[in-house]
């Protein structure tokens, strides 16, 4: 086969000579990968100029899902804001609540008890597993394999059942409160969770064998959509996308300490190529790592209260705080300004996918049309995260 497994980092510069439409001479064509499209995760519109099969320029048009979150939070109390921000990145919704609650607790000077911190971290890692399982299956779908998404969804169900058993909601747990969590875990949850992690590791192995080791998948994803590390950091790409370009940066380890990550022993996975295959590979390894972290934490949950002493009506004192965390999609941050009321004065949400998508015009020049789909799938953005 003519596919070369050695990755050429400058491959994006080489334009192939083959002309598909020598006789037809179609000229430039504008293609709308419109808001309704099976390949974009939601209502992303990509206006693409094509010369035959090759992309000349691509412009993402976002905002089809803008719900006005930052304005909505101005008129709601802190528990009500939690219910809203669950829905920013709906696939890993617990992870969205964590930085906000952490920020409010910093402003109030309260610290959640250790048991609550452990359970928060476990639930965050479970959301990471849930969203990555979907990614692992669904990227196979975007390159054409029909069965991987079903495996991803099937095994994700177990993780969602765990989240539902603890919080009451599969997708929108709404479980964080200022000072701790709403409820403690139900009886038997820890053992069930251990079994679920075994299922997750098996599923990762199965998906690796079905997708990642498949030569056709590699031929479709290697050397496609290479993000050089300087360009990536310049555009604000974060999370697994950046780690797949070789940048060793993980806010759980390198940022300000939050939750129980300083006490945990985990590995940060990077990959030297910056192509779509490495993004898939990094997320696969991170799923396994998350499963191992959950098992670590399950062995070490301390007993104790689940909620710190907080007044009945919570009024957060005046101040401003910036909290950033390593969400599954990338770096998510909240800038909370409080003026002493029961609700925040202003919340600015820095979502990961907004910056991840900003690299698309640069990244999609000169690729083939099917590769556009591969690149979109490998960047893994969620529209709710882009548009808020």
């Amino acid at each position: 086969m003519s596919v070369d497994f050695a990755v050429d980092r400058q491959a994006w510069r080489h334009l192939a000579d083959a002309q598909v439409n020598v006789e037809l001479d179609t000229g430039d064509m504008i293609l709308n990968l419109g808001p309704q499209h099976p390949a974009t995760h939601g209502t992303l519109r990509l206006v693409v100029r094509l010369d035959g099969e090759r992309v000349i320029s691509a412009d993402p048009v976002i905002g089809y899902m803008h719900r006005g979150y930052e304005k909505l939070t101005e008129f709601r109390t802190y528990p009500q804001v939690t219910t809203l921000i669950n829905r920013i990145d709906w696939l890993s919704s617990f992870a969205n609540e964590v930085p906000f609650m952490h920020g409010a607790e910093l402003l109030m000077g309260i610290e959640a008890p250790p048991r609550a911190q452990y359970i928060r971290t476990i639930l965050t890692e479970l959301s990471r597993i849930a969203t990555f399982m979907l990614f692992l299956g669904e990227m196979g779908l975007q390159v054409g394999a029909l069965t991987p998404p079903f495996y991803g969804f099937r095994d994700r169900e177990h993780v969602l059942n765990m989240i539902e058993a603890a919080t009451g909601g599969r997708f929108h747990p709404n479980f964080n409160r200022i000072g701790g969590l709403k409820d403690d875990l139900p009886w038997g949850w820890v053992n069930e969770c251990r079994n679920t992690m075994k299922v997750v590791l098996d599923a990762c192995n199965m998906l690796e064998e079905l997708v990642a080791e498949n030569e056709i998948f590699e031929a479709r994803t290697r050397s496609i959509g290479i993000i050089p590390p300087e360009v990536g950091t310049g555009y604000g790409v974060s999370g697994s996308n950046l780690r797949a370009s070789g940048v060793d940066w993980d806010l759980r380890r390198d940022g300000k300490p939050y939750l129980v990550y300083p006490e945990l022993d985990f590995k940060v996975w990077t990959h030297p190529d910056g192509d779509s295959f490495s993004r898939y590979w990094v997320r696969l390894q991170e799923t396994r790592e998350a499963a191992r972290m959950v098992v670590q934490m399950l062995d070490r949950i301390p007993s104790g209260p689940i909620m710190a002493k907080v007044p009945r009506i919570i009024k957060v004192p005046e101040g401003e705080v910036w909290v950033e965390t390593e969400n599954p999609l990338g770096q998510m941050a909240y800038y909370v300004i409080s003026k002493g009321a029961t609700g925040p004065f202003r919340v600015k949400i820095r979502s990961a996918s907004f910056s991840n998508v900003s690299i698309l015009p640069w990244l999609l020049r000169g690729v083939y049309v099917p590769d556009v789909i591969t690149v979109l799938a490998s960047l893994y953005f969620i529209l709710g995260d882009i548009d808020r």
């Binding site: 497994f5 709601r76 109390t77 528990p79 009500q80 939690t82 219910t83 809203l84 048991r115 069965t147 495996y151 099937r154 059942n161 539902e164 058993a165 603890a166 919080t167 009451g168 909601g169 929108h172 709404n174 709403k182 409820d183 403690d184 875990l185 139900p186 009886w187 038997g188 949850w189 820890v190 199965m206 064998e209 079905l210 997708v211 990642a212 080791e213 498949n214 030569e215 056709i216 590699e218 070789g246 996975w269 990077t270 990959h271 030297p272 590979w281 949950i301 301390p302 007993s303 104790g304 209260p305 689940i306 909620m307």
Partner: protein, 164 residues
């Protein structure tokens, strides 16, 4: 030096075939609703039930709801004093307590803030209607959901019991 994936050999394609074949033999995981049902865990947020005798029409739930989907109307009534010569007591009684499930976000804030334990979660989920106006559950219907509310379940090892 990060671990690079090893160069795959032809068995990569064969291994994939093996995975689908094994899955085919293992049987389906489909739960054939409506012939079979899966029961959600007891904490699942299915529907909110109202225990009317506990409600004192304090309106906290209606105020705290992020969607403002609870509609409450009440009136005050006089009750005879507890002892001879005392003041007459007033009690608040519910006239109307509607939850509009077309708006409800299932966040649970109302259940949580109620100081008198009048609202409960129930994992019941089969109440879809063909007419959207029928999703406004009134007092009687919310009272009927009380039968489906589960007992509070025991907590995990290490939890402190008896605390809020």
């Amino acid at each position: 030096m990060p671990k690079l994936p090893k160069k795959p050999k032809a068995p990569g394609l064969i291994g994939g075939l093996g995975v689908t074949f094994k899955t085919m033999l293992r049987g389906a995981v489909t739960v054939q609703y409506p012939h079979e049902r899966e029961d959600p865990p007891p904490r699942a947020r299915g529907v909110i039930a109202l225990k009317e005798e506990n409600c004192t029409v304090c309106m906290l739930c209606a105020r705290q709801c992020p969607d403002w989907c609870i509609y409450i109307e009440g009136h005050k009534e006089k009750r005879p004093p507890r002892r001879e010569g005392g003041r007459e007591r007033t009690v608040s009684l519910l006239d109307r307590f509607d939850i509009d499930y077309a708006l409800c976000m299932y966040c649970g804030i109302c259940v949580e803030v109620c100081p008198f334990d009048a609202l409960f979660w129930s994992p019941e989920y089969e109440y879809s209607e063909s007419n959207i106006a029928d999703l406004l559950h009134d007092k009687e219907k919310l009272g009927e959901w009380m039968e489906t509310v589960h007992e509070p379940e025991p907590l995990e090892v290490g939890a402190e019991t008896g605390k809020k």
